[in-house]
Amino acid sequence: MNRRHFLCTTASLALASAVTPLCAAAAQGDRVLVLVELAGGNDGLNTVVPYGDPAYARLRPALAVPRDQVLPLSETVGLNQALGPLMPAWRAGELAAVLGVGYPRPNRSHFRSIDIWETGSDSDETLTDGWITRVWRDHRRAGDGSTDVIVLGGGSGVAAGDGLRSVVLRNPAQFLDRAGRIRQASAPDGNAALAHILKVQGEIEEAAEDLRAVERRAPTLKAEFPSGPFGRQLSVAAKLIASKTAVRTIKLALPGFDTHRGQPGQHTALLKQLGSGLAALRAALLASSDWNRVLVMTYSEFGRRAAQNGSNGTDHGTAAPHFFLGSRVRGGLHGAQPSLTELAAGDLEHRVDFRRLYATVAQDWWRLPVAGSPFAAHRPLAVLRG
């Protein structure tokens, strides 16, 4: 992390003409990826519902989303009504659903599968660096003051490994509160461990200052975020972006998708938070004129099994749909819906390798060269406009 201000604020922007800027600010058009982890394994079949397939209701006698609660996206699939707040974006052509995302030889362990997703590895390969780290490794420029990743929720696996500037701010309010009690000091010579602690203290203080400045300087957001931790993460993300913080990836998490039992109420509540939250993010950033440099992408360790279990829930499965949202997104359906009748041991067969999503982000969003990219072997999806 940069010793000097790792978050850049309009506060320093305002001073930039008078004094040397202390930190880099987002240049016009700097592109931000907002990653949303649906932690626990989101039930894709009840998110983008294959309502036109009779096998769906057969597999899920009690769990199938009723036809009148599905918002059709095509003649065969539709959004769970709980995601209704995203329909304006859909109609504006800014929402893409990539169907059937997964990987070969799927692993059904939360812990292992999220590692696979967050590193972009093969199923039987263990990598230690996150996929964002891998994608950016050779492309950071000296003197580039951007923060690569700010993690506002969940794990920081996508940014694991050396080479990136990343910061974890799981609870900005608590962070500010605790940071306020830290007393700064300079390190005595000769003790590297103590020097490290005091350096981190300094970083905490700077981060806190920057956060306060973001709070002060961010334009008033013209959007109502859902209450609760996910809504708070989104509102912080919106403030960071609207205050032109130079950051490339903001990572959020909405946990609770591990719906082994009593799924319907739980899952609906989660999708409502997701839908209204992302809609609020879009509204806020449209109003601040930042929306054109934002791309939202969801991911999750796996989908869930095609058939419901005996506890009115679903168990760990495989492929699932994921969303891209943004003004440069080619709205519509991408990928292909896995068959519900030709299951592999009760699970959906994936139709799109998840690393094609990463290739899309690296090449078509950040415009990084294909040569040398860790995902060069994966063809980007035609999900973004130039």
């Binding site: 362990s109 605790r178 000091a185 005595p188 000769g190 461990a193 168990d315």
Partner: protein
């Protein structure tokens, strides 16, 4: 009579000269005794430090090592004697059974972690627990993957039994340890479709380190370990001959129908093993910067003793870099050391030990659940913006008592101002132990970053010192 005087005088001079010549044989200073105990245990009490002060360095090291134990004093959770769950696939269970099964496993995992914390808090041999934790971070396994609290318990027992024993025995035992066999996928390592996970980590992390073996060595070692599996019913090691590759292997220049034990023996002939372990011991006990010459010496003694871990450790604790005053406070306390150390040095009695593993996880060290096969990186990596704020938070809770519901030994902690137990602890001290400089010398390995205000109430001073950045160091 004058001859007597001369004789006595010369005897006295000889003795004085002998004492002077054997400089290190002098008694330890308070700071040195504290340093040795802080580095080889968790946090020492004032009484423990005082017990070590009359000893010489060698005597003190010998005493620390002689206090070792090969089993835990804390009674194990009841269920460890139950049969290991038969290998019923979760999917074959009814949903209700499966839920019950999952909940019971989670509960057992929490009990197991709490049991280890209890042992670390109460153990008469803190060094044994430090070394058990050291080997847990070397021969890592995670309950998250192994999924069986029984097998993780047995691995913990194994690590403790060999913690200060013989590395050769430990390595052979760990290669047959069922939790390890699951953790590094040797369960699926079979003739014709080898899984290289265990073989790779055996060479890369456990014994040699990168650059001292070839990819071919890994492939051949993996073949040699095929069929090293476990009996799912008893949870014990089992060799399955029909899964074993009986063909010829070539490993590090040796050719033959090698099996896993042969691989371990061949690896142990490589001097690099002793260097690899010596470096890790140095980072654990001395500093973040191993000295190559001293490492060579420690490794040689380790080999000469045929891998006696206590010999390697005694050598490590004897190096001048360990006793250099500049070494004090040069290492960051791990989360476990911070928690267990604070409890031990004040002889606190945590009323809810089950909270400790959770706090440890929050600070970045979930025992029995390391982040990956490399374990916790340790050193300054313990301190990040998040973890440092969380550490301060936990220490504030300690000083307020409320958060952790800790109570002092048999004493009603009392006092609503939150300084209750600290005041109680102070009341038991002699007046000279209550002096600010004495309290600083007890609590901190280096002077406080924020010098206390003179004339501060002693309990407030204690709180001030616990929250000083220097308290994060050992």
């Amino acid at each position: 009579m004058s001859r007597w005087i001369v004789a006595l005088l010369s005897l006295g001079l000889t003795l004085a000269a002998a004492v002077l010549a054997a400089g290190p044989a002098r008694a330890l200073s308070h700071a040195e005794a504290r340093h040795l105990l802080a580095r080889t245990g968790f946090g020492a009490t004032l009484a423990e430090i005082r017990d070590f002060e009359p000893l010489s360095r060698d005597q003190a090291i010998e005493r620390v090592l002689s206090q070792r134990s090969d089993s835990a004093a804390t009674p194990a959770p009841d269920w460890v004697g139950d049969p290991v769950m038969p290998p019923r696939r979760l999917r074959a269970m009814s949903d209700e059974e499966r839920q019950r099964f999952r909940r019971a496993r989670i509960e057992e995992a929490i009990e197991l972690q709490a049991w280890w914390y209890r042992e670390m808090v109460a153990s008469p041999s803190p060094l044994t627990e430090r070394m058990t934790l050291f080997w847990h971070n070397h021969f890592t396994s995670s309950i998250r993957k192994v999924k069986s609290p029984h097998l993780m318990y047995r691995q913990n027992v194994l690590l403790r039994r060999h913690a200060l024993g013989n590395f050769r025995d430990l390595l052979h035992a760990i290669a047959r340890d069922p939790a390890m066999i699951i953790y590094l996928d040797n369960v699926t390592n079979r003739r014709g479709r080898p899984n290289e996970n265990f073989a790779r980590e055996l060479l890369e992390l456990f014994t040699l380190g990168e650059g001292h073996y070839s990819e071919r060595d890994i492939k051949e070692a993996a073949r040699a370990f095929t069929g090293w599996s476990l009996n799912r019913r008893s949870g014990e090691y089992r060799f399955v001959a029909r899964w074993h590759d009986h063909g010829e292997k070539v490993f590090m220049g040796r050719r033959g129908n090698l099996n896993g034990s042969d691989i371990v023996e061949i690896v142990l002939q490589h001097p690099q093993v002793s260097v690899h372990v010596a470096r890790k011991l140095w980072r654990e006990f001395v500093s973040d910067t191993p000295d190559p010459a001293e490492i060579g010496r420690i490794a040689e003694a380790f080999r000469a003793s045929d891998y006696d871990i206590s010999v390697a450790l005694a050598e490590t604790l004897s190096v001048p870099q360990f006793w250099d005053p500049g070494a004090r406070g040069a290492l960051v306390k791990s989360p476990v050391e911070l928690l267990v150390g604070t409890i031990r040095q004040f002889e606190l009695r945590p009323q809810n030990v089950r909270r400790l593993p959770r706090i440890g996880r929050h600070l970045g060290q979930a025992v029995l659940d390391p982040p990956n096969v490399k374990g916790w990186p340790g050193g300054t990596a313990w301190i990040t913006a998040d973890s440092l704020l969380a550490r301060q938070q936990v220490l504030e809770m300690f000083t307020r008592r409320a958060g952790l519901s800790v109570g002092t030994n048999g004493r009603a902690a009392g006092g609503r101002n939150g300084m209750g137990w600290l005041s109680g602890w102070m009341n038991d001290l002699d007046p000279d132990q209550r002096r600010p400089d004495a309290l600083i010398a007890f609590l901190l390995p280096v002077p406080p970053v924020h010098p206390p205000v003179p004339g501060q109430d002693p309990a407030r001073l204690m709180r001030h010192l616990l929250l000083d950045p220097a308290y994060q160091l050992k």
